[in-house]
């Protein structure tokens, strides 16, 4: 599903963020990206949803080399990828409902379908009845639940997450992890950056270890 081959990334001012990265994630797999701060985890995820492009190497997602994707095709590629940020990235001028509806509205889905899908999703994360509230007023754990629900609302085959539990207490982190595992159980390929050793070892999933922009063997 995801395959990095000989990927190099240099940021401006000659910061070598990634050096010769090679790894693969199979379809339906759940894989962690781990390593200390500055190791290059976020950079790998940014390459995967095309916020950045590599200086060398190929990144294959579902048989397409996304590093060569034309910029006109990028939005459509992103619709097949769910992304969860450490800081949620909810839009506070919009209601919880509108935040969840956003990806669907962009595709021009009919409003009845949007309503049905969003309400079902709110039900699942236990926020039914609060759809018109502002996401500013809910707890951190609930914010991240909304963010994950938004990432999953289009049922994307791939779900990426950058330290999604980094800002949360242990109990919330547990609930969040459960959402990812549920999504994975339904067939979604998950790649999650995390430096929380406990979460990784408890999950039983494989981890790609990074250090100084290289994959550790």
């Amino acid at each position: 599903m995801i395959k990095f081959s000989r990927v190099f990334k240099v940021y401006e001012k000659n910061i070598q963020a990634l050096t010769d990265i090679n790894f693969e994630v199979a379809k339906g797999e759940f894989v962690f990206l781990t390593g200390p701060s500055g190791a290059g985890k976020t950079t790998i995820l940014k390459l995967l949803y095309r916020e950045e492009t590599p200086d060398m190497g190929s990144i294959i997602v579902d048989d397409t080399d996304i590093s060569r994707l034309s910029s006109g095709k990028v939005p459509f590629y992103r619709r097949g990828i769910g992304f969860v940020f450490q800081d949620f990235k909810l839009i506070f001028e919009r209601s919880i409902y509108e935040n969840l509806a956003l990806p669907l509205e962009i595709t021009g889905a009919p409003s009845k379908f949007i309503r049905h899908t969003v309400m079902e999703s709110l039900e699942k994360i236990g926020l039914a009845g609060r759809e018109n509230h502002n996401p500013w007023h809910i707890s951190g754990g609930e914010k991240q639940k909304v963010a994950i629900a938004r990432a999953l609302i289009m049922s994307p085959p791939v779900l990426l997450a950058d330290e999604p539990t980094g800002n949360l207490d242990e109990a919330s982190a547990g609930e969040i992890m459960k959402m990812f595992k549920d999504a994975n159980a339904k067939g979604t390929t998950v790649l999650m950056a995390s430096h929380n050793k406990e979460i990784i070892s408890n999950s039983g999933f494989r981890a790609v270890r990074l250090r100084g922009g290289r994959v550790e063997e």
Binding site: P75, Y77, R78, R79, I106
Partner: protein
């Protein structure tokens, strides 16, 4: 639908700034509209005068028929003169006597007090040409006096013309100001919304999905500014016409087609359209590298 909600959302966020943007569009459009209105007034008045302008040459008592004939030929030969028509004192008397008021006045005289005259019509309404023709006629021997009554109207036209050009210049300045204000305010809105724009991109919004709301925001500002500008211009002109009528009794609406022009759909659409073009151009100007 989504577009509409996005525009409303931007409007809410920009708040006061949206009013500034609409306000400058109002100013620009009002000035342009004022220029156009004065242009129609000047053209209309000049047209009217062209048809009417006529100098009456009064002939000295006792001039012979030959002298009169010669004078007529001389006048016709002057540049800019269309025709010179001899009106005998008897013809003039009969003409005046048709009006009962005049009849009363005339009958208070003994005999016919009116002189022989020549009515002169001009090709074009060109003040300079007419003035020099009138001056030339005045020097002729058989001429008692020349009456030419358009000088005051001409003065008024000069004033309107001056105001017209001031409005035109102000219009151009405000158009530039409006473009700068609209584009910068939309830039500011885009800057304030950069977090949202990032999220929109990450969930797969295309460039058009992101840009269109801002472009429509510009169009909405332009539409509101243009229409309100028309409303304000209409109110101002109506008020002025009302005042003029009260003070002088002159009905500008009847004379110079003030109100009919203002109320024509062409004019309303024209001003609203000018506003929309301003808003659209301003918002297109704001779409720089922000979305790269």
């Amino acid at each position: 639908m989504r577009l509409f909600r996005e525009v409303v959302l931007n409007f809410k966020r920009s708040g006061f700034m949206s009013f500034v943007s609409i306000g400058t569009i109002i100013l620009a459009v009002t000035m342009l509209g004022g220029f156009y209105i004065m242009q129609t007034v000047v053209n209309f008045a000049a047209d009217q005068m062209q048809n009417r302008v006529e100098a009456v040459v009064f002939i000295k008592d006792g001039a012979s028929a030959e002298e009169i004939k010669l004078l007529g030929d001389e006048i016709t030969a002057l540049s800019g003169v269309k025709e010179a028509r001899y009106i005998s004192k008897d013809d003039a008397y009969q003409d005046f006597a048709k009006d009962p008021e005049m009849q009363k006045i005339l009958s208070s005289f003994e005999g016919n007090p009116l002189p022989d005259s020549i009515s002169v019509k001009f090709n074009d309404y060109k003040a300079q040409e007419i003035n020099s023709a009138v001056a030339a006629i005045k020097t002729k021997m058989a001429v008692e006096d020349v009456e030419y009554g358009a000088a005051e109207i001409e003065h008024l036209l000069n004033v309107i013309n001056a105001v017209k050009y001031i409005a035109g210049a102000a219009g151009i300045i405000f158009v530039i100001a409006a473009l700068l204000v609209v584009s910068n305010i939309i830039k500011l809105t885009i800057y304030n919304r950069r977090q949202d724009i990032y999220v929109l991109k990450m969930v797969g919004a295309t460039g058009a999905d992101i840009r269109l709301p801002f472009i429509f925001e510009g169009i909405a500002h332009g539409f509101l500014g243009g229409f309100l500008g028309w409303l304000i211009l209409y109110a101002v002109v109506s008020f002025l016409a009302f005042q003029v009528k009260k003070e002088t009794g002159i009905d500008l609406a009847a004379f110079y087609a003030f109100n009919p022009a203002l109320l024509s759909p062409k004019f309303i659409f024209g001003m609203t359209g000018a506003g929309i073009v301003l808003g659209l151009t301003g918002s297109l100007m704001s779409q720089g590298r922000i979305f790269k």
